[in-house]
Amino acid sequence: MSLPVLKANDFASDQDVRWCPGCGDYSILAQMKKILPDLGFPREKTVFVSGIGCSSRFPYYMNTYGMHSIHGRAPGFATGLKSTRPELMVWVITGDGDSLSIGGNHFIHVLRRNLDVNIVLFNNRIYGLTKGQYSPTSDEGQVTKSTPMGAIDHPLSPLSIALAAEATFVARSVDTHVKHLGATLTRAAQHKGTSLVEVYQNCNVFNDGAMAYAQDRAQRKENLIELEPGKPLVFGGGKKAIRMVGTRLEVVNTDEVPADDLLIHDENEPNPSIQMMLARMKYPEMPEPIGVLRAVDGVPTYDDQINEQVELARSQKGDGDLDALFRSGDTWVVG
């Protein structure tokens, strides 16, 4: 079958985009429209499911099937959809509040089930749509509308939680780092099993610059490590890297330690403990890793298995026969 060659714009719906000018969401939308044609998947087989939040308006802007559902529950909808229609490419679009506050439980469960969907978590560390309350990823002490004296909750790391749920694909990217973002989304799409991509996204209205250390082109070199499989974790223009000493990670200068001492990134390692160490690296104490932290293949997906059981049952018992069912067990005749 020859597929028509689609362009980014073919994935744009006819609806006006309604994010604030300058919002990081625009860039994620642009990258999504850009990578989708290359995946070679027809528009009608692509579905975007979202919760509620600024980020969750995303599906309206895509010329695919879409569902703007309710707050925090997108993984639930995706589970029903993908389990019954495994041939579709399903994306889940969510925010930090949507996925980690009200939706934290569904988030864990979709990951542990390894449903073959791609989750893009727009992390702006704030509730955007409701105009600026702190979120589970906001900093301790952060002053927001709901925390005039500073937030007292200790923030959650979406990547840590995902790793604890033994997610099979865990990655991070940044709204302004468009190439990296596009590449990361592509890899997420290609992974079989649940893919999680956390995207640092600037909310320029309610939390402007909260992640400037990662978004700003100049700063990002010093503060981010672009992970590459099988390579050491270098940053700072190749001058610095990460070493594991005993059970801890530390920053070293590359010209001061032998290359063999450096920690080599293994995204395929099934035991997530070291990946968890990476996920916990936090600015300003440490540089933060972006790219694919974990990509483990071969773990059965929920959608495959639920459908395999149906096939197996059919092959074992034959296609369901209503009449036989009705007459199973004790029956008797009247008249």
């Binding site: 009608e44 559902s69 029903g80 959809l81 389990s83 229609r85 639920i306 009705f326 029956t331």
Partner: protein, 636 residues
């Protein structure tokens, strides 16, 4: 395959004692949860059904998995009525009661009619057991018992031990056989064939031959005890009932619901997705449905009810027959997502097997108190159709109808079952599969995408249903969501008049269902002194009560609602044809409030909130109060 008529089998001994023919018997088996009363009850039910009786059952088990042995909280009961006439309830007062220990006796004796047969496992009435049951002295010794009932004390434990001694099983296992001994007595007493139970024993314990043999020995010993002991004078015979000809089987409500769903799936050529979270008394639907994977059923035990509801909507969006089930507290959790389901206008089924509320309430007891929750338990104006089965077997038809309404209207349909019909059972005439109604479901076809003429997901047909375009269909890409949407295009819209129009339309599409469902039927004359209006699981009791009133010469009729939203189109006319309308409900008057509001009819209520179904007698007693005295005299 239908089994051979039971009497052709010679495995059952024949009694030589006198036997009396009666129209029906109501018996309750009560013992400790560990005593196997539910099994005994199920066997007696099946056997009676196989004997051609009409049967109705009411299992009543404790809230705890296994409450401490011997306590009142641990008493498990199973009531069955079998009769040579059509019956609609498991019976009010008991003709016979079997009790295995003091706790069972004190908690159940109140329901035994004066002069009824009380069979007690004497061995279970030790001083220790009495203490655990918190009774002062052995209740079997009270004079009043022998004076009021026909008490038959049987040392079941010791007799069972003797009967199974040869198998050398050890006391614990041997004692487990005593329910079969009790069963033997009961079977003798009511002239039941041992054969189906012997077959059951064989199927169930076939792999452990000594156990099978011991249970058989206990059953036969019990039967022999009845036959030989002086205590029993005569046995009772209940002739076969005149049921509609056909092949029958026994069916429980939750089972019938599951079967109805799988039938609807076949009839609509749609594979079923069943997304749920376990909760009493709904879980058995999941347990049953999940066996049907070879019917294409995908069952999903979600992390909670909200995820279950959302997954159900997701599956509906994908084009499956999507179903979810729960009970009151779980339905409360689903409310927000149900509102979305309504807004998306996708077909699905939401089953609520109601239990005693509010809050956690009385999880193992029955109630009808979620009707208004079904109507209004969502934010905003969010009308959904509601239908309710009236008996265990009726759950089958209700499930099929729900799916038909859902697909032809494009709307989630709520089914309100309850714990009483869910766990109760009755004979069910097996339908010819070909006779079941096909359910035609269509999806719009694909076409090349045309930006100038985009697909219109909220265009409507004559039922006001929108097209069910599913992902994967070329060119029909569209987005749905919970924000108000523009008529026809489905785009987000904040336009005031559009919101009014969409609100009105969502209401109208539910209302219009009334044009397509049958008119309300009425049992009895089309006008008169009293209309008894009921819904759901109280059908049997209300029907029987009204029959009795009619038998007494009253101008009383019964209308039993299956459709609670919308109501049948002729309901108003019916209501206005009676001097008095009375609505019995197992709640404080929920249907009554809807009826009064809608039709301004001064309907009265008979309301019972005790975790238990209505008794026919209590209904009759209350209903006559609403009837003109003259009628009572007329009948007298």
């Amino acid at each position: 395959m239908a089994t051979a008529p039971p009497d052709q089998n010679d495995l059952t001994p024949t009694s030589t004692k006198k036997s009396q023919s009666v129209e029906g018997i109501t018996v309750r088996l009560a013992g400790d949860s560990g005593d196997g009363m539910q099994l005994l009850g199920t066997q007696l039910t099946n056997t009676s059904a196989l004997a051609g009786n009409d049967v109705a059952t009411f299992p009543d088990f404790p809230a705890e998995i296994r409450a401490p042995r011997g306590t009142r909280a641990g008493v498990s009961g199973f009531q069955v009525q079998f009769a040579s006439d059509k019956i609609f309830t498991p019976g009010d007062t008991l003709d016979a009661l079997v009790v295995m220990n003091p706790a069972a006796m004190v908690t159940n004796l109140g329901d035994l009619r004066k002069g009824g047969i009380l069979i007690a496992n004497e061995d279970g009435f030790t001083a220790k057991e009495c203490k655990i049951a918190k009774v002062e002295s052995n209740p079997l010794d009270a004079n009043v018992i022998e004076e009021t009932y026909r008490l038959i004390k049987v040392p079941m434990t010791s007799l069972t031990r003797e009967a199974v001694a040869e198998f050398e099983l050890g006391a614990k296992i041997a004692d487990r056989c005593k329910n079969f001994f009790a069963m033997g007595i009961v079977y003798w007493l009511f002239g039941r064939s041992l054969e189906p139970t012997l077959r059951f024993i064989n199927d169930k314990f076939g792999k452990k031959p000594e156990i099978a043999a011991a249970n058989e020995a206990a059953l036969r010993a019990g039967w022999a005890f009845g036959e030989t002991t002086e205590a029993f004078g005569e046995s009772y015979q209940v002739e076969a009932a005149e049921l509609e000809p056909g092949v029958y089987r026994n069916i429980m409500g939750n089972q019938a619901m599951a079967w109805g769903l799988v039938a609807a799936s076949k009839l609509s050529e749609k594979q079923m997705f069943f997304g749920t979270y376990p909760i009493t008394p709904a879980s058995d639907i999941l347990h049953e449905v999940t066996k049907f994977k070879n019917f294409g059923v995908r069952s999903f035990q979600a992390e909670d009810e909200i995820a279950a509801m959302c997954a159900t909507i997701g599956a509906a969006f994908g084009g499956s027959m999507a179903v979810t089930s729960s009970s009151g507290p779980g339905i409360a959790l689903k409310g927000e997502a149900m509102g979305l389901g309504m807004m998306l206008e996708l077909p699905m089924i939401i089953i609520n097997v109601q239990r005693g509320g509010p809050s956690t309430g009385l999880p193992t007891k029955t109630e009808q108190s979620d009707l208004l929750q079904a109507m209004f338990g969502r934010n905003g104006e969010a009308p959904l159709p509601i239908i309710a089965p009236r008996s265990p077997g009726d759950c089958f038809d209700t499930a099929i109808e729900a799916w038909k309404l859902a697909t032809e209207t494009m709307v989630p349909v709520i089914i309100l079952s309850d714990g009483y019909i869910a766990n109760g059972s009755e004979p069910w005439r097996i339908p010819e599969v070909d006779s079941l109604p096909r359910i035609k479901v269509e999806h719009p076809e694909g076409r090349p995408f045309d930006a100038e003429d985009p697909f219109k997901p909220y265009e409507r047909d004559e039922n006001l249903a929108r097209p069910w375009a599913i992902p994967g269909t070329e060119g029909l890409m569209h987005r749905v969501g919970g924000l108000e949407k523009e008529d026809v295009t489905g785009n987000v819209s904040y336009d005031p008049l559009n919101h009014q129009h969409m609100t009105d339309t969502r209401q109208a599409k539910v209302d219009r269902i009334a044009e397509r469902i049958p008119e309300q039927e009425i049992f009895g004359p089309p006008s008169g002194d009293l209309l008894v209006l009921s819904w759901g699981g109280t059908y049997g009791a209300c029907h029987t009560a009204v029959s009795k009133l009619q038998g007494l010469g009253h101008r009383a009729s019964h209308a039993h609602l299956r459709h609670l939203n919308p109501f049948p189109r002729n309901l108003e006319e019916i209501l206005n044809s009676f001097s008095r309308v009375v609505i019995p409900e197992l709640n404080t008057g929920q249907l009554r409030m809807l009826i009064r509001s809608k039709y301004l009819v001064d309907a009265a209520g008979i309301n019972k909130v005790q975790g238990k179904p209505f008794n026919v007698t209590e209904l009759v007693d209350e209903l006559v109060e609403y009837l003109p005295r003259v009628a009572a005299t007329r009948a007298g």
